[in-house]
């Protein structure tokens, strides 16, 4: 009974995450979905996975999401999803497909009966090593991506300088450069001023 209530609540929160017009509200409903899925995992006997789902799914992902919304900005509320009929059909189709798949799955033949810790660190030791490498690669990738905005400006400025140095100075090039200038104005404002002052030729 408790499992049924949890499942209904999970689906309800997931639907509200779709229907919410504000991104922040949708993020909170998504966090509630992850938290309820974590409780469901606990019900299934996967305690460690439940803790990880709670901390990562409901915690870290939500923090990342709020951070991204803060950086990008919450856009004005969008109108409600107009394709509700389509959503209902998609939900019905996926439910049928997954239901049929679950009922027709064969039982595993070779079941490992060792404790989870032994399986995790011995049988799947390579997975754990790859996991650690992936975490560091992800962190480095995100740090690199977040600091790339100045590089974009630098590439654009170098391109303009290259164009200015390769094309002959004439009235036609002047008009080209002046037409390029408004396009770059937004990105130039965020760049260091010393690098951009030498751009006009």
């Amino acid at each position: 009974m408790l499992t049924a209530i949890l499942i209904i609540l999970t689906v309800f929160c997931a639907l509200l995450a779709v229907v919410s017009t504000r991104l922040l509200h949708a993020t909170l409903w998504l966090a509630a979905t992850s938290a309820l899925v974590g409780i469901l995992l606990y019900q299934l006997g996967a305690w460690e996975i439940a803790v990880i789902e709670l901390s990562v799914g409901a915690g870290l992902v939500t923090v990342l999401m709020v951070f991204a919304i803060t950086m990008i900005g919450d856009p004005p509320p969008t109108p409600h999803v107009s394709r509700r009929t389509l959503l209902i059909f998609v939900i019905l189709a996926m439910t049928l497909i997954v239901g049929m798949t679950v009922n027709s799955l064969p039982a595993p033949v070779d079941v490992i009966t060792e404790p989870l810790g032994a399986v995790l660190w011995q049988v799947r030791g390579l997975d754990m090593a790859a996991q650690i490498v992936l975490i560091f690669a992800g962190v480095l990738g995100v740090l690199g991506l977040l600091s790339v905005s100045d590089d974009i400006v630098r590439v654009r400025v170098n391109r303009i300088e290259h164009q200015a140095s390769t094309t002959p100075l004439s009235s036609a090039t002047h008009t080209t450069q002046t037409s390029d200038a408004p396009e770059l104005s937004d990105s130039m404002q965020s760049a260091p001023s010393g690098r951009l002052e030498k751009e006009p030729v």
């Binding site: 499992t3 049924a4 499942i7 999970t10 689906v11 997931a14 639907l15 995450a17 779709v18 991104l23 949708a26 979905t33 995992l41 299934l44 006997g45 996967a46 305690w47 460690e48 996975i49 990880i52 789902e53 990562v56 799914g57 870290l60 992902v61 990342l64 999401m65 991204a68 919304i69 990008i72 959503l87 998609v90 939900i91 189709a93 996926m94 439910t95 997954v98 239901g99 679950v102 039982a107 079941v111 009966t113 404790p115 989870l116 399986v119 995790l120 799947r124 997975d127 754990m128 790859a130 996991q131 992936l134 975490i135 690669a137 992800g138 990738g141 995100v142 991506l145 905005s149 974009i152």
Partner: protein
């Protein structure tokens, strides 16, 4: 009955994830990505958990009771961490796209059409 409930929950979560993934707003698409990962993890665990009636942590298992396969949970543990890393990378990419194009609407990012 519980199998059916879990199948329905996974199916609905999967459908909502796919629906969100196809939205024009890139942030909502990222939310769909996260929901899809949650549905997949729940699916794998729901199919693997019922093979035994004792969780794989306990050491004193009564005679005649089957222990669940711990490999499923070990793989889900990896999947949760990998999904978090890829989700962070996805949000970083969306941040870069919003800075470069001034919008998170995939239709407004006109360079994708070229």
């Amino acid at each position: 009955m519980t199998d059916l409930l879990f199948a329905m929950a996974v199916g609905i979560l999967f459908a909502i994830g796919v629906f969100q993934l196809l939205r024009r707003d890139l942030i909502k698409a990222a939310m769909g990505f996260s929901m899809l990962f949650t549905a997949i993890n729940l699916f794998i665990l729901a199919t693997g958990a019922y093979q035994g009636d004792v969780p794989p942590y306990t050491t004193n298992v009564e005679a005649g009771r089957a222990v669940s396969d711990p490999l499923v949970q070990a793989l889900i543990l990896t999947a949760v961490v990998v999904s978090f890393g890829s989700y962070a990378l996805l949000l970083g990419l969306i941040n870069i796209a919003s800075r470069r194009y001034g919008s998170v609407d995939s239709d407004d990012i006109s360079d994708l059409k070229r």
